[in-house]
């Protein structure tokens, strides 16, 4: 955190000053480790084993915050008797379908809800990265559930959790992660102690957690701990995701993502959502508890904002104008399609995949096989010059005279040359004022897309083609101003907020959204940002003039709420858990919820409220159901649906690992997304042979001095000079073993690429003793590329493409490689070196590694249909 989010880290230092204990877990000793109280080096890719150990420690010693757990989580809920755990399946849960490498979730459901809950087969959800929809709300689960308040029932979630994590002992943590058990116990003890009415603990993670083939389950494990300890919805608690880009939260909320529409409404699927009603019902799940019950209003209002007057209740608000998903259309699938010649044109908007995405060579080869490419950036980035300066030009794989891609480079406006809102990592929208005009041809994206749209509509005027209707019907009349005819960002923000169609009055909140076409709302979760016709995101009341919650600085979604699920900061009766941890509480005199923050609860629903039989939507939530966006109002220790690779987190080895999984026969995530494409490959891992060809584990991350793919830092001299060269960090032990010298050159080889770097030998990297052997890890910054003031080879070139099944994010925080002293070859011999390694490792182009590696037959009758074994254990 000190390394990548230094200014956010001031609050950790503040907490430390007040006596908080800081633990830092990282494969390398970083600037955060330097000031942490305890640093735990970890083998990259084993966090679930570590966190699972903490879960076990809490449960074994009954250190959970029992009152919170009973009332606010699904610990007492009884799960279907069809459910079989990974304990029974050697690492596979019940319901695994080896034909599609995915689960049928029926057996995971709560007892009695096997058929009417969940989403059944999940292969389609994986392709649609459906996990992302749950960023604002939980997955569906219906009606009333059977509970055992004594937590003794063998199939209640609490007992299932105990059994599932039973083998995550301190000894196992040491065996898997390389963390000495005393160190682990120090962490587990401290974490469990910061629990209860008086105390809380916070968990902070950064983007690296998401870049694993089990990334979502990493975060799930953290969530289980924080729920068991009663740390959610309370001040000083929570799971804090430190995201890496100024408005990456905003770009998920108002997504430029293939599978989402604004406000986490799913992009319709051709087979599942042929009609508007099918689509809406799949979101709101009729009969379900919670706030998604109003999804029809959010959906209708979005379409109304898109298609204005043309969108009417009679034509389902132009629902048929929406494009339909048929499978995986994610960025990595797209790149492979580019290589295969299926994609004509590509826009890059402040993005540099030639350096920033996994498998840089695939990215560059894809871009070299387009009809046209539009790059909009501040600087001439690697993704704009691949045809000229890319490493494939040196190897002869891209020949400029034979590369047909037509490239348009359009200069972009910087953050001070336009106005608009960023959404930062805690959902806070902050408006930026424009300081100066952009230079020369530089323009904002707002300008570019508004005028592009205007031009497209002009060119299509009068067209009778069905396909052009959606463009021609589009509500696209934003006011412009100034010499450049810049569209009004405030007008767009007002549309995002939503307004009454007849009067134009901005809505005060999403509660005012209607499903009859009388309201238009661009992004329902942002509704309220323009309440009263005031740009609430532009509020800048000084921190000196308000309390510590600072509710009048910017605006947070939803409803300017700073801490989500804050009803949980009060006990079931609505009283603060303690005076010290007071945040939101029930005021019996006034008959309403009150506190320092906007209560995340219906303001006048008393703690004693119990829903009438048959209630649905918000009315079905009891007065002590704080997790209002969850289908059952509870925090989920166990996820009966929504997570595609298991209802509980399970340690799987990374897709590339030098180790056999010490916990289960199942080596890696059995539902991970693998692309069997000639350009892609996965280095062999046990039980496959030849894993020793790539004996070392490498991981990549950021340096304080640089930003992502380097376009905003390697081009800026006061930053470039602070970290002027690509380097690799190795331990003295590895240096001795591999013959590397400090400040000498080394080159690293994977099944995809070879890159070179200067060597920094440092004690900050340590070998780990793991399962009886010594594992060496090495670390690289991923900021370097071939353009800018300072240049170097790109670490992301080393990675192949394997994705998390829930969100289709690539595993680019751990891989295997070899390292040799000296510089890499240049020209065609470079590919020869890679090919030689591939040959020795037995990598066959286009072939995927075995998915299922379990050693035992799983109990019959509990799983999905089809054969039980596939890809037998070769070990």
């Amino acid at each position: 955190m000190a390394e990548a989010h230094p200014v956010g880290f001031q609050w950790v230092m503040e907490a430390k000053r007040r006596g908080a204990k800081v633990f830092h877990v990282d494969p390398r000793f970083t600037r955060t480790s330097a000031v942490a109280d305890t640093y735990l080096p970890i083998r990259a890719g084993t966090d679930i084993a570590l966190l699972g150990g903490v879960v076990r420690y809490i449960l074994d010693n009954e250190l959970d915050f029992r009152e919170y757990v009973l009332a606010y989580t699904n610990a007492a809920t009884i799960v279907s008797e069809q459910f079989a755990d990974t304990e029974d399946g050697d690492g596979l849960f019940s319901g695994y379908d080896p034909h599609t490498d995915s689960y049928v979730q029926t057996s995971w459901q709560y007892a009695g809800h096997e058929q009417d809950s969940g989403s059944g087969h999940t292969a389609k959800e994986r392709d649609g990265a459906a996990g992302l929809q749950h960023e604002s709300h939980g997955a569906q689960v219906s009606g009333q559930t059977a509970r055992d308040e004594t937590l003794q029932h063998p199939r209640c979630v609490y007992q299932i959790l105990r059994r599932h994590f039973a083998r995550y002992t301190p000894e196992m943590v040491e065996r898997v992660c390389g963390i000495p058990r005393e160190k682990f116990l120090e962490l587990a003890r401290a974490w469990a102690e910061n629990s209860g009415r008086e105390r809380t603990g916070a968990l902070v993670y950064s983007v690296g957690w998401t870049q694993h083939s089990v990334g979502v389950q990493y975060i799930r494990t953290g969530a289980i701990i924080q729920l068991l300890l009663g740390n959610m919805g309370r001040p000083g608690g929570g799971i804090l995701a430190l995201r890496g880009h100024a408005s990456i939260q905003g770009s998920t909320d108002i997504p430029t993502l293939f599978n989402l529409l604004p406000g986490y409404l799913p992009m319709p699927h051709h087979a599942d959502h042929p009609t508007f009603d099918d689509w809406v019902d799949s979101i709101r799940h009729p009969g379900q508890k919670g706030f998604w019950g109003n999804a029809r209003a959010y959906a209708a209002s979005l379409l109304k904002a898109y298609w204005g007057d043309a969108a009417t209740p009679e034509n389902d608000f132009c629902y048929d104008h929406l494009p339909r998903m048929t499978g995986d259309h994610g960025t990595y699938q797209q790149v492979l399609n580019m290589i295969d010649g299926k994609i004509k044109g590509y826009f890059l908007l402040g993005q540099n995949p030639a350096v920033g995405s996994a498998h840089g060579r695939a990215q560059r080869l894809g871009m070299a096989n387009l009809d046209w490419l539009v790059v909009r950036d501040l600087f001439m980035i690697e993704s704009a010059t691949f045809w000229k300066n890319g490493p494939e030009v040196a190897t002869g794989e891209i020949v400029p005279q034979e590369c047909r891609t037509e490239v348009f480079f359009l200069p972009a406006a910087s953050h001070v040359e336009k106005e608009g809102t960023f959404t930062q990592t805690q959902r806070l929208l902050q408006w930026r004022e424009k300081a100066v005009e952009p230079p020369g041809d530089a323009r904002s994206e707002l300008w570019f897309f508004y005028h592009l749209g205007r031009r497209l509509r002009e060119k299509l005027a009068g067209s009778a083609h069905r396909r052009d209707r959606a463009l021609l019907d589009l509500a696209w009349d934003y006011p412009t101003h100034g010499p450049l005819a810049e569209p009004s960002a405030e007008a767009v923000l007002r549309e995002i907020n939503g307004y009454d169609v007849s009067t134009g009055r901005p809505l005060a909140s999403f509660a005012e959204a209607k499903d009859d076409g009388s309201t238009a709302v661009g992004c329902w979760i942002y509704s309220g940002v323009y309440a009263d016709g005031v740009n609430q995101a532009a509020r800048r009341r000084s921190r000196h003039e308000q309390d510590w919650v600072a509710a009048e600085w910017g605006w947070a979604w939803p409803a300017n709420r700073r801490t989500l699920y804050n009803r949980a900061s009060a006990d079931p009766q609505g009283r603060p858990w303690s005076e010290r941890k007071k945040y939101v509480w029930w005021d019996p005199q006034a008959g309403e919820w009150t506190g320092y923050d906007v209560p995340d609860f219906e303001r006048t629903k008393p703690p004693t409220y119990r829903p009438p039989q048959g209630a649905s939507g918000p009315a079905a939530l009891a007065g002590d159901d704080p997790f209002v966006m969850q289908g059952d109002g509870k925090g989920w220790l166990y996820a009966p649906s929504g997570v595609l690779d298991g209802p509980l987190p399970t340690h799987y080895e990374p897709a590339e690992s030098p180790m056999r999984n010490p916990l289960y026969g199942q080596q890696a995530n059995p539902t991970r997304k693998v692309y069997a494409h000639p350009v892609n490959s996965v280095n062999p891992s046990p039980p496959q042979e030849h894993s020793a060809v790539f004996p070392y584990v490498f991981t990549v991350s950021r340096l304080t001095e640089h930003h992502t793919a380097g376009a905003m830092s390697r081009t800026v001299s006061p930053l470039a000079e602070l970290q002027p060269e690509m380097f690799v960090e190795v331990s003295p032990e590895l240096a001795a073993e591999a013959g590397l010298t400090h400040l000498g050159w080394a080159h690293l080889i994977s099944g995809r690429a070879v890159i070179e770097a200067k060597v920094l030998v440092t004690d900050r990297l340590t070998p780990l003793r793991v399962d009886g052997r010594v594992i060496h890890q090495l670390w690289l910054p991923y900021h370097f590329g071939y353009e800018g003031l300072v240049t170097g080879d790109s670490a992301n070139d080393l990675f192949g493409i394997t994705l998390d099944p829930n969100v289709l994010i690539q595993e680019s925080k751990v891989g295997t490689c070899d390292i040799l002293p000296g510089r890499r070859p240049t020209g065609p011999p470079l590919r020869d070196l890679v090919d030689d390694y591939r040959r020795r490792a037995g990598i066959v182009p286009g072939e995927r590694p075995p998915t299922v590696t379990t050693r035992v037959r799983r109990p019959a009758g509990r799983s999905g249909d089809g054969p039980r074994e596939k890809g037998a254990d070769h070990a």
Binding site: S251, P323, Y346, A358, T405, R432, F449, W476, W553, E705
Partner: protein, 189 residues
């Protein structure tokens, strides 16, 4: 300047007649030093902004003189950052004023070995034409069972995590209306 003022401004005169006989302080202060003022004090205007790097969302104050950014520093009022910035945030002025910034449209013809210049308006028009052509070539109206698809898989886009919400809103709205589905950003990476 009169002779008296000229002499009075002479350091040795000041040293001999003033409070600083050793001439190491007030007597040694140059006219330039005496007239120094922080350029933030004399800025024409200040824009309240937000750092463009990571997602912490630190407040920035952008100082402008003669329509040029002269300083960017932390906004002490911000409850998030309390006026502080990391090295990247602190380098924001160098970022936006970097001589390496591209300020004109560059165009690379198919099979060409170099860039050439292109007028912005022409570029926009060419891109619009190419979009429509790609769409026409790859349009899918319905699936094999006649259910609507209404899309093109011939167009891709990647980016948006450092763009404004308003920009992403227009990007998604326009691409969706175009039937372009393959719109992605850093949040997938």
């Amino acid at each position: 300047m009169g002779l008296r003022t000229f002499i009075a401004g002479w350091p040795v005169y000041r040293q001999l007649t003033g409070t600083d006989p050793l001439g190491r302080g007030v007597a040694a202060q140059s006219g330039r030093s005496a007239g120094l003022t922080a350029r933030t004090e004399t800025a024409d205007r200040v824009a309240r902004s937000v750092c463009p790097y990571c997602a912490v969302g630190c407040g920035q104050r952008v100082y402008v003189s003669d329509d040029r950014v002269t300083q960017i520093e932390g906004d002490p009022d911000s409850p998030i950052s309390r006026g502080r910035l990391c090295p990247k945030g602190s380098a924001s002025k160098s970022l936006v004023t970097s001589p390496l910034r591209q300020t004109t449209v560059r165009y690379r013809r198919p099979y060409s070995t170099d860039w050439e210049d292109l007028d912005l308006d022409t570029a926009l028009d060419m891109i619009a034409d190419r979009l429509l052509a790609a769409r026409e070539q790859t349009w899918e109206d319905v699936d094999s069972e006649g259910r609507p698809l209404h899309r093109t898989l011939g167009i891709s886009s990647l980016g948006g995590a450092t763009l404004d919400n308003e920009e992403n809103y227009l990007i998604k709205k326009l691409f969706t209306a175009m039937g372009a589905l393959q719109i992605e950003n850093q949040a997938r990476i």
